[in-house]
């Protein structure tokens, strides 16, 4: 068997924020009625993670469940475990009207970490990233410049970004440019102004 390699093979960049391509992840798209018991059981049973609400991410260790749309979940697991998790999900779904498909090789995941991470991301997406509206545990599907992407905050200073593998280089170049030295806008990262 050939050895699977991620799109940019862990490429990294250190600037205002640290940009890393975080390697291969198992990603399974689950579509179906998210209120149905069989669909919920398949998602939570296979990942060991609680069911996320609308626009939320639930995670536990390397596993995560991302709410992608009213009828779509993304199950994230270890790349090596995909087949096993998928089998478990199919068994659990039984005859339920749902679809679970391995999308791991169609996607790329990036991490953007650092105190300027919010600023770096806000340069590229029209989504409102102010801490008041977007915090850890929430996921936003939006765009980064010209490509669709989904992202969430693992903690207040680290983003996880998913996009198509075919545009991985474009996404990486974008993130590196936005995190380039001397391009800090200090909008979110600036210390709050204290009244004198």
């Amino acid at each position: 068997m050939s050895e699977p390699v991620s799109a940019l093979n862990h490429a990294g960049f250190d600037g205002l924020a640290k940009v890393t391509e975080c390697g291969l992840h198992g990603m399974i798209t689950l579509r179906g009625d998210l209120a149905a018991r069989a669909v919920k059981a398949a998602a939570t049973g296979a990942s060991g993670v609680k069911m996320p609400g609308p626009n939320e991410v639930q995670s536990k260790g390397d596993n995560a469940l991302c709410w992608m749309s009213p009828d779509e979940l993304l199950v994230i697991c270890d790349y090596k475990d995909v087949r096993q998790v998928l089998d478990k999900m199919h068994k659990s779904l039984g005859a339920a009207h749902a679809l679970a498909v391995d999308m791991s090789d169609a996607r790329t995941m990036f991490c953007v970490t650092g105190s300027s991470a919010r600023d770096v991301m806000a340069k590229l997406t029209p989504a409102d990233l102010s801490p008041a509206t977007f915090g850890p545990g929430q996921i936003r599907r939006s765009r980064l410049a010209q490509i669709p992407a989904a992202f969430w905050l693992e903690d207040d200073q680290s983003f996880r970004i998913i996009c198509f593998r075919s545009v991985a280089q474009y996404a990486f170049d974008l993130l590196c440019t936005a995190a380039g030295a001397g391009s800090d806008v200090g909008y979110f990262s600036a210390a709050p102004i204290r009244p004198t």
């Binding site: 749309s69 009213p70 779509e72 029209p126 599907r141 939006s142 765009r143 669709p148």
Partner: protein, 109 residues
Amino acid sequence: MLILTCPYCGIEADETELASGGEAHLTRHGPGTSEDDFSNYLFTRQNPLGVHFERWRHAHGCGKWFHAARDTGTLEVFATYPAQTAEPPKTVCDAIRKRRPGWTWQGTA
């Protein structure tokens, strides 16, 4: 910039995250209908300056089609609502009438 709230995922999406789908609430005329009806269905569109209904798709988000009622002149958005309806729901019509007294859906009360 036009900002519409997707009724499916609740995200306030700006125009660049959406794909426009043209006029909403068209009646489909397919095989077996008159040539005039079919031609109108394909080509005839309203282009009002004022209250208008449109289809939009949350293309860079949840991917769902929805409807928006807005004013093409002022860009005021009256409401967005799910696409599974042949005409604007009463709540949407009420919201429009509140801002545009006397307005009626296709000229009927």
